[in-house]
Symmetry: C2
């Protein structure tokens, strides 16, 4: 097994890479880089990624970071990955790249800021900041609205009207799943207006099950710890989206 994936499952792009590998039967060794313990700043990890970010991979001597670059590399370099994940057709591939590029400065920018300044920041030395959280929420809401009205505005269960998921679906859905750690009222306020988005998250979960649920389990423990709630052993992280979706459908009836 030569592929090593350096990850902390609390990182949404790290989860995206892990889920992609597992769904596609790519053999790899998962190496935990604990962000709270600042293991990403250790010299041995900086030798893999000088910027100290996860996910990073080492495929033999070849080192790579930035999750989108990793996902497209693995999709092309691993035998047996179905074409829909990263189409070889140039136009279809360009569209997937377009979504991934858009992600950086829209959904990711809003999502990371919102979660960081609302709840996760203190774990890594960044104080809670309601003003910055409110600004990030604006970018986030606009991004979710654009996913709903542009990227999901065609027939098909996945982004760009595709019938099967691409690496962009995994990447963007993992970003949104990070909101599981938010206070419940914030998460419902932000996500519940976007019914197509909720349906798409659920479709992506089903398409990548059971790896999706397994890799996201870490969020359940994080949520319990952050909000000082008892751990509900029967609670499934992924099922909370399903619950919100069912609630939405019930409201429509």
């Amino acid at each position: 097994m030569s592929l090593k994936v350096y990850a902390d499952r609390m990182s949404q792009p790290a989860r995206a890479v892990l889920i992609f590998c597992k769904v596609n039967g790519i053999e790899f060794e998962e190496i935990k880089v604990d962000l709270v313990k600042k293991q990403n700043r250790l010299p041995e990890f900086k030798a893999i990624n000088p910027f100290g970010k996860v996910p990073s991979i080492a495929d033999g001597d070849f080192k790579l970071f930035e999750s989108h670059a990793i996902l497209s590399y693995l999709a092309c370099a691993s035998p047996g990955v179905a074409d829909h994940w990263y189409p070889s057709d140039l136009k279809k591939r360009a569209k997937v790249n377009s979504v991934l590029d858009w992600h950086h400065t829209n959904l990711r920018r809003g999502g990371v800021g919102f979660v960081l300044y609302t709840i996760l920041g203190p774990l890594i030395g960044v104080p809670i900041n309601p003003k910055a959280a409110a600004e990030a929420e604006k970018v986030l809401t606009s991004s979710l609205s654009n996913i709903e009205s542009v990227w999901l505005n065609e027939n098909g269960n996945f982004l760009l009207g595709n019938k099967e998921p691409s690496i962009a679906d995994i990447s963007l859905v993992c970003e949104i799943m990070e909101f599981e750690v938010l206070p419940e009222m914030d998460r419902i306020r932000v996500l519940s207006p976007f019914k197509k988005v909720l349906k798409w998250i659920e479709d992506t979960r089903i398409a990548t099950s059971p790896h999706f649920e397994e890799v996201h389990k870490v969020l359940l423990a994080a949520k319990s710890a952050l909000h000082k709630l008892p751990v509900d052993e029967n609670y499934e992280t992924a099922s909370s989206i399903k619950a919100m979706l069912d609630m939405e459908i019930a409201t429509e009836l």
Copy 2:
């Protein structure tokens, strides 16, 4: 001629696409979308890109936006584009993608914020904001430092130690060239500590000359207008980097 490139040359990613097409002899029609006149918000442009951003392209019926996705698409879809621009070797290509992904949340984030809040904002209704400019300058300086110490930290004149430029070189250099419109003291303060960066900008200019200079000429007029300076007809936008580089070399002697 079926390829249409929708651009405002005041946009750094739009310039990157225009230079790439011209250097590679790709036939296209340049369609100006004037951002100051808000032509990007017109319904006819929203039909090309629902987000109203430049650059965007239409290749027959195929519409695409996000400059990195456009550059990689054109590199693959246009006959005769040399391999070094976007290598077909999977590992080399993945490295170029890694730089491009890094660009979004580092150099671009810092650069756009700094220029916007220092000088360009009022043109599009965003007020000058010294505090936001200072925060953006931190991200920008850190990004330039990382280009200098990581991405240019190998032999070869271009990013990743390459001997010939890739689409990442054009994209990142066009970002930095936007600083031409800054007040001179700001531009020198930000850029002059980074000697490898200055040398790399100059090498990229030479590799893409005379298109680089022609496409960047718009910045000269913008600079004159913004700072109420007379237009110096003999002034070459690109030569200002050369001057800073010469100054740096002279300082070392």
